[in-house]
Symmetry: C2
Subunit: 253 residues, 2 copies
């Protein structure tokens, strides 16, 4: 596992170089489902680069990836990689910063290793359960648990309009709401103790790497809807410190 | 004015050193009006430092400041300085980053010079109408105007719960909502083109410096409530590119 970890870290840094080179060149932006659900040729080329390299490193593994260059995965037995080449594509397009590249390695449905690269800040968060979590070469300690009232939180604002699951009460009982627009960067903020909670509807590639890292620091990763945590489908999930998670579950329905 | 500008820039860098030294030491945190309206001894000491230095630089000017070490200002004739020692105090306390120090110089009620220091990123935005706007030593160009649908926006989330002034429509017609938790940093994001709109209820010290910089780049700074723009009181104000401002005024009531 240590050799694989080293190979995947090297891959993440190579993917960063690839992304920066593609950004510096001309790239195309297209809408997927709506005007604010974007994909770019940088997403696609970076994903192609990562999946090709994963096939060399681990030829028999399956790959789940956002833009479709991976496999059709229906069962999670054995080793499965989950790839998000550009997490926070709107930020990528509108801000040229505040986006991440994410990769996770699962075995028999369980998170083993997670990687979140904050591309523009040149910072790789990596690790997993039993391995610990590192920010580049520095080990991270679990964040201070300030409970909900003492914490800044990030709650998907789509939920907020309709007060879905009573999330307005969660926000009103927290210190304040922040929205950064990239699941990977929100989860980094929870790892670093800058947010006590991230609550959003997440697709497999949005959560997989962050879950490995969050569980590696003893944080809570849990679905708040009836469906439970599912690596293959979209879920309404929280990533939080223990006390914050307890406070949230007392409020949501 | 160029000499004064140079003196005020030097003051901003000195204030940054002061803030960093106070952060490294023990500081106290107190609640002001509610559990999430905080003030720290760093706010107070930094403000005391800035106001004392302003009294040396410009002995006859008046000073409006958040924590009360300035003057009681009732009219804006002559030169008035407006000081916010720590903008984004919640971020300061919970994140130890994402806060700003702000200073503005007004003459007869008109913005002349503005300064926003992103303390942890060591970046000073400075300038004003007729002077241009600079990021440290580099001149900034006006941001690209993408209109509301093409822009990420920051809208105070207190307004969102109640749909005050129909702000939910503003958000639904934008590319996405972001919330960073510091008026100074939100306005920097508008200057840099990373946000097309910042809309919030702002106190004099939240807006004064940002207004000088935004108007220095030809951006729109305008009250959306009946009260109009008022340097001495709290307003519901937008800072936006021209097309975004037009799009917003067509939606709000």
């Amino acid at each position: 596992m240590a050799t694989l970890d080293a190979q995947l870290q090297t891959l993440m840094w190579a993917a960063r170089e690839k992304t920066l080179a593609l950004m510096a060149d001309h790239y195309e932006v297209d809408a997927k489902t709506t005007f604010n659900d974007l994909v770019t040729t940088v997403d696609k080329e970076t994903e192609r680069f990562i999946t090709a390299r994963l096939k060399e490193i681990d030829p028999t593994a399956q790959i789940i990836s956002e833009e479709g260059f991976g496999d059709e995965v229906h069962d999670l037995s054995g080793r499965v990689y989950i790839v998000d080449p550009v997490d926070g594509t709107l930020n990528f397009v509108k801000q040229q910063t505040n986006f991440a590249t994410m990769l996770a390695c699962y075995e028999d449905g369980q998170p083993k290793l997670g990687y979140i690269m904050d591309v523009m800040n040149q910072t790789l968060y990596h690790g997993g359960p039993g391995v610990g979590v590192f920010k580049n070469d520095h080990p991270l300690n679990p964040p201070v648990d300030r409970g909900l009232r003492g914490s800044l939180v990030d709650v998907n604002y789509g939920l907020l309009f309709t007060n879905h699951h009573n999330v307005q009460a969660v926000i009103k009982n927290a210190s304040g709401l922040r929205l950064y627009g990239s699941a990977g960067l929100e989860i980094i903020n929870v790892l670093e103790g800058r947010l006590g909670l991230y609550l959003s509807r997440l697709k497999p590639w949005d959560l997989a790497a962050g879950r490995a890292l969050a569980e590696g620091l003893g944080l809570v990763v849990k679905a708040i809807d009836e469906k439970g945590l599912d690596v293959l489908s979209s879920n309404l999930v929280l990533v939080a410190t223990k006390q914050v998670a307890d406070d949230v579950f007392a409020l949501v329905n």
